[in-house]
């Protein structure tokens, strides 16, 4: 290693090599991914997030929800995500093409949220989600700073949380969600990747065997 320029050239080339391999090649493979047009439905998938939900994703991102929740379902034969009720199919790259900040996540301290709005038999509705955010549950903290305690005289605001028991506000008061809470809930209610792309269908066992034999 007596040759200085050659040494630095080697360093440069090594990193460029991995950059080209990992980043550029996967970009070449996935960068041009287009939405999938379904003739029978007459529209393409994935659908764009409605504006309010897109703003909600920014709230999701800046609060750091991704530290505890993933948004990626593993294929049914790999892990038990399907048994958890998190999704019938694996997440594929196409699911994320419209997202400016995909929140794949790396820790499941809470549940996976890829299909939160499509849970079976029944998904949480806006009211449940508001309460969950306001009160917290188990290991999930309460995000009470997303809500305001307001004085009411006369009619209670439409958006006020219907709280009972210990968490109920004082008489003459109501707990109303801030705008941030509202867009966040709109985002959470948009989380559903129900559409089945050709590449997301689980590989049938016989096909896998045939492929294995081919190799």
């Amino acid at each position: 290693m007596k040759n200085g320029p050659l040494f630095f050239l080697g360093l440069f080339a090594s990193l460029t090599f991995s950059f080209a391999g990992v980043v550029l090649f996967s970009n070449y493979q996935l960068g041009g991914l287009t939405p999938y047009y379904d003739d029978s439905e007459g529209k393409s998938f994935p659908e764009r997030l409605p504006g309010v939900a897109a703003r909600g994703q920014m709230v999701y991102r800046d609060l750091g929800c991704v530290a505890c929740h993933t948004q990626q379902v593993r294929r049914p034969s790999f892990g038990n995500d399907q048994a958890q009720g998190w999704g019938e199919r694996q997440s594929v790259a196409r699911d994320y093409i419209h997202q400016s900040y995909p929140q794949l996540g790396a820790a499941r301290i809470g549940q996976d949220l890829t299909n939160l709005a499509g849970r079976k038999p029944s998904a949480l509705d806006a009211e449940d989600l508001m309460k969950l955010l306001y009160l917290g549950q188990g290991a999930m903290p309460a995000y009470s700073f997303l809500f305001q305690d307001v004085k009411v005289s006369g009619q209670v605001p439409k958006t006020a949380l219907k709280l009972t028991g210990k968490s109920a506000p004082l008489p003459g008061h109501a707990v109303v969600p801030t705008e941030r809470a509202q867009v966040l809930v709109a985002y959470l209610l948009s989380l559903n990747t129900a559409y089945d792309y050709p590449e997301s269908r689980p590989v049938v066992k016989t096909a896998a065997k045939a492929e294995g034999a081919h190799k």
């Binding site: 980043v23 960068g31 997440s91 995909p102 794949l104 790396a106 499941r108 995000y143 009470s144 700073f145």
Partner: protein
């Protein structure tokens, strides 16, 4: 535990201003990140802790802790130790010391700005790259100013023959801006689409560890061990292969976090293969350092602990990257355990070792208190071991609960299964914080001995600045 300072040289005393500034800010950030880590750790088992404070949601404290640790402590300390080794092995007094001072000030300004930004919700959201958009260029420029001294040390080196520690230092100094600027372009200025962001982020995060922090730690180890033990490293001629394996393969292992994810399967497959190939690098490191493990000086104790953790982390990575294991380890606290083993157990411990060796030479005096040195050593050892064990156990409990009999798993059960271990992890964070406070106090007292000589130090650095500017 001896830290004799007999071989303090003119090179050391000349470069002490900039280097002690970097080291001091590093230790300060270490304590700050310790406080943040403690908050994050408590939040895991007591979700109500700081729940009312929007600035400290768990997601934000995690990002804050990580940024203060990596860009505050590891970067400052690593750059200081790396430059110190580069200058010493170059055999010439440090040039452009004032550039280092200015760079260090702006770097720390950038890190402070990043922390405020993350607390306000501006984190970029990528691991090891949480720095908000507006602080990124500042950090890059500040890094450039600090690295000027490294470039000049390379250009002015007296001996043509490179030592292993020199390769590692210069590789780290040279590759960081490459990685950091590419990540800025592909994640922030012209972001790639969809899941590609996760691919780039994985490549970058692995690069930060494998091509920046690990080389800086290895440079310290390759410098210190032969120097303290006075013996030539066994199998030293293999070191070059270990070096290039790390540099060439390092970044390819980043895709192991995406196993089973919504990315092409080859990304994970290549990462798994790269993790196995990296075992060769760890083998070389082991062969080189096998005789040094367990020696009795403070610096050697920390360094050999760090090297053992480094080897262990490498082997664990190779094992948990296998698909069958990854299936269970993925998304659990095991990932955090491996991260702590690498960043705290390996890199930080080696840095501690080098710091205990370097500071007395830079100051020209021994550490102010040897009992604080001993206290730091024992608390940090207990803290790191406890933290890694507790997080691993929490990960196992979590995985077991998620794959358990009741499907779908109740997250309340998962939380109660992991809770005892998370409490242990909090205890470990307390030990680490106390230990690092001892280091901070000891560092401050040791450096305080220099204060009367500040005027003299200034007069030395002025001609240096002139020679750079002319």
């Amino acid at each position: 535990m001896s830290t004799d300072s007999n071989d303090s040289t003119a090179i050391d005393t000349h470069s002490r201003g900039p280097l002690l500034l970097l080291l001091g800010s590093g230790v300060l950030w270490l304590v700050i990140s310790g406080v943040l880590a403690l908050i994050a750790s408590i939040q895991l088992h007591t979700p109500t802790f700081f729940a009312d404070c929007a600035w400290l949601t768990f997601g934000r404290t995690q990002a804050l802790r990580e940024t203060a640790f990596v860009y505050g402590w590891l970067a400052n300390a690593g750059l200081a130790l790396g430059l110190w080794i580069a200058v010493r092995l170059g055999g010439e007094a440090m040039r452009a010391g004032n550039w280092v001072v200015v760079g260090a000030l702006f770097w720390n300004l950038g890190v402070s700005l990043s922390l405020v930004g993350i607390a306000a919700g501006d984190a970029s959201g990528h691991p090891y790259f949480q720095i908000p958009v507006y602080a990124q260029p500042l950090l890059l420029v500040a890094y450039g100013a600090i690295a000027v001294a490294g470039v000049l040390a390379w250009a002015g080196r007296r001996h043509e023959t490179g030592f292993a520690s020199q390769w590692y230092v210069f590789a780290a100094l040279f590759l960081f801006p490459w990685l950091f600027s590419v990540a800025q372009v592909t994640l922030v200025w012209l972001p790639v689409r969809g899941v590609l962001q996760a691919v780039v982020a994985g490549w970058f995060a692995q690069g930060i560890y494998s091509l920046w922090l690990a080389p800086l730690a290895l440079a310290c180890a390759y410098y210190l061990l032969p120097k303290i033990s006075g013996r030539v490293l066994p199998a030293y001629s293999f070191a070059v292969f270990g070096f290039w394996t790390l540099i060439v393969m390092g970044c390819w292992t980043g895709g192991r976090h995406l196993i089973g994810g919504p990315v092409p399967a080859w990304i994970a497959s290549v990462a798994i293969a790269a993790c196995s190939l990296m075992v060769f690098h760890y083998l070389v490191v082991f062969l080189n350092f096998r005789s040094a493990i367990g020696a009795k000086s403070t610096a050697l104790y920390f360094t050999s602990f760090g090297l053992l953790a480094y080897l262990l982390a490498g082997l664990v990575e190779a094992v948990i990257s296998l698909r069958g294991v990854a299936l269970h380890a993925q998304f659990t606290f095991v990932e955090q355990a491996v991260q702590q083993l690498s960043l705290y157990g390996a890199v930080s411990m080696v840095f501690f070792g080098a710091l205990y060796f370097a500071v007395p030479r830079l100051v020209g005096k021994n550490w102010a208190s040897s009992s604080l040195v001993g206290g730091h050593a024992s608390l940090v050892t207990v803290g790191v071991v406890l933290l890694v064990v507790a997080l691993t156990a929490a990960g196992f409990a979590q995985s077991h609960a998620m794959f358990g009999a009741t499907q779908p798993a109740k997250f309340a059960d998962v939380a109660s299964a992991t809770r005892p271990w998370l409490l242990v992890a909090t205890a470990a964070q307390v030990a680490l914080l106390l230990g690092n406070l001892m280091l901070l106090v000891n560092f401050a007292q040791t450096v305080a001995a220099l204060v009367p000589f500040r005027a003299a130090a200034n007069s030395v650095s002025r001609p240096a600045l002139k020679s750079v500017l002319s």
